[in-house]
């Protein structure tokens, strides 16, 4: 029983961390329409930033400043934000698929730097972790697992709450206006360039938070954590859950991560012994099928975007619909 709880706590911790990334992407794509194809770069910036600031010193290695975890995490988040700001200034004039390609390139470049700048990032060896926050004080690994889960859930709840406030405010409506029709938004006196940049930076910093939690949880980071598959997983979560709906984003993260790991577990349990070797490819097929079926059956996601009552009323007063000219 304790084993089951321990595993479920572990699963929920990782799903919670991924849900934070999906929330960050939801602000960018779901609300502002920015196609970020380089999720992993901002996640990685948070991860490496936290590790460099909070890690233990090593000979011949930059970093290892042993900052307390929360400060290291804040540093990682700021790093993710700074990279997003620079990338944003350079690329946010690009639209849709062009922006996706540019940000994907940023992710590849980031991975390449992490692999090669050995003095900074440990190169292919990666960086080994710092003692997990409060682990020594708590002692018991089972209790610690639950405490870590509580921390991740608290961060997830805080991010969710803050984003809900943000997107329901006039600011959120401005973001959606830009998503729907940038020219119209500009004609109403909004500054799309600035708003897009802000949304991109805030979303990327949220991804950075997740990266920092991830390295604290695993006590290790290497370029292997920056593989493009993470970007794909996060996008799948957002699309299945429902872009433009924060609850959908969180639901999608738990569902997809559950399907991803649960399919492997179920196959190892129930597939016949002779099939054991083939469960890996079968798992890929199952995951792919789920995503394709979702796209065909419910392209708007399980919990589609809902325009709030207040917004609709206000909108009807000024004689336009939320979807604008489209």
């Amino acid at each position: 029983m304790i084993g089951l709880i321990s595993y479920l706590a572990f699963f929920a911790t990782m799903a919670g961390i991924l849900a934070i990334v999906v929330l960050g992407l939801n602000l960018q794509w779901g609300y502002t329409g920015l196609f970020n194809g380089g999720v992993v770069a901002f996640f990685g910036a948070g991860a490496y930033g936290t590790m460099i600031l909070g890690g233990r010193p090593e000979p011949g290695q930059f970093g290892g400043f042993e900052w307390p975890f929360l400060f290291a995490l804040a540093g990682g988040v700021l790093l993710a934000g700074a990279i997003a700001w620079i990338v944003g200034i350079l690329t946010l004039r690009l639209r849709h698929d062009y922006l996706a390609i540019a940000t994907f390139g940023v992710a590849v470049a980031f991975e390449s730097i992490a692999r090669n700048a050995e003095w900074l990032t440990g190169g292919a060896k990666g960086l080994r972790g710092f003692p997990r926050p409060l682990e020594a004080a708590i002692g018991n690994t089972f209790v610690y697992g639950l405490c870590f889960l509580a921390m991740v859930m608290a961060v997830l709840a805080a991010v969710y709450w803050a984003l809900q406030r943000l997107v329901q405010s006039p600011y959120g409506r401005a973001l959606r206006a830009i998503r729907e029709d940038e020219v119209a938004a500009r004609s109403l006196g909004k500054n799309p360039t600035r708003l897009r940049l802000q949304s991109f930076v805030i979303g990327s910093m949220i991804m950075g938070v997740a990266g920092g939690l991830y390295v604290a949880f695993y006590a290790f980071v290497s370029p292997q954590d920056l593989a493009p598959i993470l970007t794909f997983q996060v996008w799948a979560m957002l699309i299945v859950g429902g872009a433009g709906n924060n609850r959908g984003a969180v639901l999608g993260a738990f569902l997809i991560w559950g399907a991803w790991t649960g399919s492997g577990f179920a196959l190892s349990k129930f597939a016949p012994a002779a099939m054991q070797l083939y469960t890996g490819p079968i798992q890929y097929i199952l995951i792919g099928t789920v995503i394709v079926v979702m796209l065909l059956w419910r392209p708007q996601g399980l919990l589609p975007e809902r325009i709030t009552q207040r917004f609709t009323k206000t909108a009807s007063k000024v004689g336009t619909t939320s979807k604008g000219a489209f």
């Binding site: 572990f10 469960t279 890996g280």
Partner: protein, 417 residues
């Protein structure tokens, strides 16, 4: 009184029967986390499952059937760690075999197996980070791998330099993870062999000229130069090195073992060149593994990591047997030296050998596992060594100069630590 004795003996008989039944029905669960969905990962997993079958044929771990639970890690840290956590928490495995990528293996160690006290052994993770972690004591002796690191080549380079009587060496290394790693290890190895390292210089790919780097290297006036380079940049570097009057006393890594390099540099300059390489062991067991693999799968074991996977699985299962069916991870890990004891009875890598090893281990005697990678022996950090060769360029191609046995290499590495 008689009735009492009768009932006592009946109870005893029942207990014995129950025990015997348990011995037949019991099973030990062993977790395997490998990238089975990747082309080169599947044969590694196949080999591990094959060894588990052989152990079952030989009677199982402490009389219990080995139930191997294979999970795919997709070479993704998140997926591998989750699979490992499920195996440890839900299936209560005490022994985990995996993974391949160091970026998957290390988070499994740091966040799953070491906190839970489960033993982990890998066939193929190559990162020196693992040695660092073990040296820090972060792995609590629960970690082993049957993959020899770049340490072997670095050590052999220092050994041949010492034999040749060089006193001062400059290192030129390729600026990637392999070169960085080998360059650093070689510097340590030279230093501990009493050879001065004048300087270490990084050589970045695809530069039109390496004059700056080479001039700097020659400026240190080394007696010999160590080249951890690939042929492409190796050719340009060595040509400039010789044209600026650098010494022809060169030591090179296995990457330079190419005709292209020999022809482009010219034989007249390569008479004093010494190369190093790891070697597959020249023992009957290693050739035996190849034959057994061919008999089982119908192809030669040419993929990466197959003999390593074979040995990792066999050694850990034998240690499990020695520790007993109810052993914890730490207890299994503590028995590994009994399976790889150089002074123990040599046992062969087949069902008969496994049977023999199990019988000896049950009696408390140690054995020396003669596996696919030879007579494996772990150091205190869970690393293994490998035999090596030195070689040179000849008119006809590449000539082997000397074979360094596992013991020679191991002795040098131990002397460094």
């Amino acid at each position: 009184m008689t009735r009492k004795i009768m009932s006592f003996s009946a109870a005893a008989a029942l207990a014995v029967m129950a025990n015997a039944a348990a011995a037949q029905d019991c099973s030990v669960k062993v977790g395997i986390v490998l990238p089975t969905s990747i082309d080169w990962g599947k044969p590694i997993a196949e080999t591990a499952l094959w060894v588990a079958d052989m152990v079952n044929e030989a009677g199982g771990v402490d009389g219990c059937k080995v139930e191997s639970i294979l999970r795919d890690d997709q070479n993704d840290a998140k997926v591998g760690v989750d699979a490992a956590k499920a195996l440890v928490d839900l299936d209560k495995v005490q022994l985990l075999i995996g993974a391949v990528g160091s970026g998957v293996t290390i988070p499994i160690l740091t966040s799953v197996t070491v906190p839970a006290g489960v033993m982990q052994i890998s066939c193929c993770s190559s990162s020196t980070r693992l040695t660092d972690l073990a040296a820090e004591g972060a792995l609590k002796g629960l970690w082993f791998r049957t993959f020899a690191t770049s340490q072997v080549q670095a050590s052999v380079a220092a050994m041949v330099a010492k034999e040749a009587g060089y006193k001062k060496v400059t290192i030129l290394y390729k600026n990637d993870d392999w070169g960085q790693d080998l360059g650093k290890l070689a510097a340590d190895a030279f230093a501990s062999a009493g050879i001065e390292v004048a300087t270490s210089i990084a050589i970045t790919d695809a530069q039109p000229s390496y004059r700056a780097e080479v001039t700097e290297a020659i400026g240190t006036a080394p007696e010999a130069v160590y080249l951890a380079l690939y042929p492409k940049e190796g050719i340009s570097v060595v040509r400039e090195w010789l044209s600026l009057g650098g010494t022809t006393k060169m030591i090179g890594a296995n990457s330079l073992k190419s005709d292209e390099f020999r022809d482009a540099v010219g034989m007249q300059y390569l008479a004093e060149f010494i190369g190093t390489d790891t070697s597959s062991p020249r023992t009957d067991s290693a050739t035996g593994f190849v034959a057994a693999y061919e008999a089982k799968f119908g192809t030669a074991p040419t993929g990466p990591g197959l003999p390593n996977s074979f040995d990792a699985t066999a050694i850990s299962l034998l240690a499990y047997h020695a520790a007993g069916r109810d052993a914890t991870g730490a207890e299994i890990a503590a028995k590994v030296p009994m399976v790889t004891d150089p002074t123990g009875t040599p046992v062969t890598a087949d069902v008969a050998g496994i049977k023999q090893a199990m019988a000896l281990l049950s009696e408390g005697k140690s054995v020396s596992w003669q596996g696919g990678t030879g007579a494996v022996a772990f150091d205190q950090f869970g690393d293994v060594s490998a035999p090596a060769v030195s070689w040179g360029f000849g008119e006809a191609g590449i000539d082997e100069k000397r074979y360094f046995t596992l013991e020679e290499v191991g002795a040098f590495i131990t002397s460094m630590q």
